[in-house]
């Protein structure tokens, strides 16, 4: 018990540290003293502008998006009992990205609607992956589900790229966001999303115990008075919603939702409440960490956070694909 509390505290400390670094470090080098002055409100300089208008909104966006992706990954891996399931491996983030590129950039929907557009796109993509995986002769297998999701992702990615190639004008606005970037966030964009996130997180917490029961197998779960179908539907719906928030904030970022739950389980075991809590801290830590590295690795230009999460997460995917104990 003490160890588990220790891990949660440690995860929180890591998150705070990474957040602090994400304010202190950027493509423009600022002395630490100026950063501190800027935070404490001495509104004097460029430093204040950079910190309060660029870095703080970026950090807040990363906190929310990363937390959403981490929790969504836990829900999906729990609901499908499949360690390779995650928002990106099931096509959810790519579906959201395609829908937003289509809706906001081409049909001119207001930017505030992005989260709901992403929700519809993500749910559609996940349904397509599920339908494709279920056509197999021996029914739905976990490996086929993620393979279908990955291929749906690549389809939607190709179409999104095609959309951008046709319309160069919108391309410049959208391309950066589509690569999974936290740059250029505004605090105003995060505010309206917070109630959604809060409701979804509470619901995820409520679902944690039923997911524990589900982990014992469907029959045992039924014996414990649970309804596996409903739990799965609820968890998947929540995961799509949380992923949609992340997509609206940061674009289709891959591999955070895949990797973070694994690290969390490795730290605290398989109890879903603990895994959820730890993932809620580690998700943003991974995303913000990737964002910070992306700012300094190619100065004076920047590399989108999504590129670095892919670089970190892809080896894990290869390992899981080859090794994981999943019925194929």
């Amino acid at each position: 018990m003490i160890r588990r509390v220790g891990v949660i505290v440690l995860a929180a400390v890591v998150l705070v540290a990474v957040s602090a670094v994400s304010i202190a470090v950027g493509s423009v080098t600022l002395p630490l003293g100026e950063v501190l002055d800027a935070i404490t409100g001495a509104r004097s300089s460029d430093a204040h502008l950079i910190v309060s208008d660029l870095r703080v909104p970026r950090m807040i966006g990363g906190l929310v998006a990363g937390g959403c992706l981490g929790v969504a990954g836990v829900l999906l891996q729990g609901a499908t009992r499949n360690p390779i399931a995650s928002p990106s491996m099931l096509g959810i983030t790519a579906g959201g990205g395609f829908a937003v590129a289509m809706g906001v950039a081409f049909l001119g929907l207001p930017a505030g609607a992005a989260v709901w557009v992403a929700f519809v796109g993500g749910a559609g993509a996940a349904a397509l992956a599920l339908a494709l995986a279920s056509t197999g002769r021996d029914g739905l297998s976990p490996i086929r589900l993620v393979l279908s999701g990955a291929i749906v992702s690549s389809l939607l990615g190709a179409w999104t790229a095609g959309l951008l190639a046709i319309d160069q004008r919108t391309a410049d606005d959208v391309r950066h966001w589509l690569a999974g970037s936290l740059a250029g966030r505004e605090v105003a964009a995060v505010g309206p999303l917070l109630p959604i996130v809060a409701v979804a997180l509470v619901a995820a917490w409520v679902l944690a115990r039923p997911l524990d029961a589900l982990a014992l197998g469907d029959e045992t779960a039924v014996g414990l008075g649970q309804r596996p179908g409903r739990i799965r539907l609820g968890a998947a719906g929540l995961a799509v919603l949380l992923s949609a928030v992340a997509v609206a904030l940061a674009g289709p970022i891959a591999f955070v939702g895949l990797a973070v739950p694994h690290v969390a389980r490795w730290l605290v075991g398989s109890e879903h409440r603990l895994v959820l809590l730890v993932s809620l801290f580690l998700g943003p830590a991974m995303l913000l960490g990737a964002d910070v590295v992306g700012r300094v690795v190619a100065r004076p230009s920047e590399v989108q956070a999504g590129v670095l999460t892919a670089l970190l997460g892809a080896p894990l995917l290869i390992r899981l694909a080859v090794r994981a104990k999943v019925a194929s």
């Binding site: 390779i84 494709l132 995986a133 056509t135 197999g136 002769r137 297998s141 490996i143 086929r144 993620v146 393979l147 279908s148 990955a150 291929i151 749906v152 690549s154 389809l155 190709a158 179409w159 790229a161 095609g162 190639a165 046709i166 160069q168 690569a179 891959a254 591999f255 690795v297 190619a298 230009s301 920047e302 590399v303 989108q304 590129v307 670095l308 892919a310 670089l311 997460g313 892809a314 080896p315 995917l317 290869i318 694909a321 080859v322 090794r323 194929s328």
Partner: protein, 342 residues
Amino acid sequence: MTRTHGSPLMIRTSLVLRRRSRLIVAALVIAVPLVGLYALTLGSSDLSLGETAAGVLGIGESGTTFVVRGLRLPRILVAIAAGAALGASGFLLQGLLRNPLGSPDVMGVTAGASLAAVLAIGAELAPFLLPLAAAAGAGIATATLHLLTTRSRAAGARLILAGIGIHAAASAATVLTVARLPFGRLGAAEVWLAGSLHARTWAHVVAVTVAVAVTLPVAYALVRRLGLLELGEDVAIGAGVPVRATRVELLVIATILAGAAVAVTGPVGFVALGAPHIARRIVGQSGAATLATAGLVGAILLLVADVIGQRVFHPTPIAAGVVTAVLGAPYLLWLLHRWGRR
């Protein structure tokens, strides 16, 4: 008289099949230059077929000859050679992995080639070294795949997922490399990464043609053993095929073909995946005719994609790689669907 030769009816069917596949290959051999000639007429100013043909032969006006021979012909020849290389590479790799989705573009081989090529651009290597660098990158990706297939015995969907992982890692590393390129090299890398046939030169033509000319005969010689391998390792061993050596040879040839194509076109998706499937549909499962058909279909696919890219949103040109990805991706989905029902 033993019955090992099969019934007369079977012999007749196989003869009919062989004659049919010869006809198909012959028809494609004629079709490729025709499509190429049509593609040559397109451009910023359209020429008539007669003018174009005269330009190719060098008997027309000097301006036309310059445009056709100097600007358009290299582009078309690169499309044909690279498309053929991709089709053949996909055919070999799909057969070797015994997996309909196991083509170099899905499995991260072309992504590995892209990464190496971008690194080479960054290191300011001479342009003629680019194909070698790309082949080396493709080789590293293939070696990883080979290790995965032999060490862990990952097969089927798992293997494809691992390949998708290799693809994701290599693509991300490519973006990272491009971002770190000095400003002067950025343009070259970005044009190349779009998978465009724009502004190809005779140097590109020579590079890819040499690679294809050297490797295709070897591929042709390996086809019979590949056919036996596809029947299963036991069958192949029984027939006296040196399994391990054949696998390595096939991997090397498929890698060089994919690397050479990527080096001159940038990453062009779907051709290596789709061409072998189309070939198998029209001439049957495996054999030299299927290899030839896969190459010819690959050439036509890339040519057509380039024509579509130039025409459909005229005057905005779309890179051939974007066209193949947009049109090919649904086919990939359909393939997955069919694979599941098998």
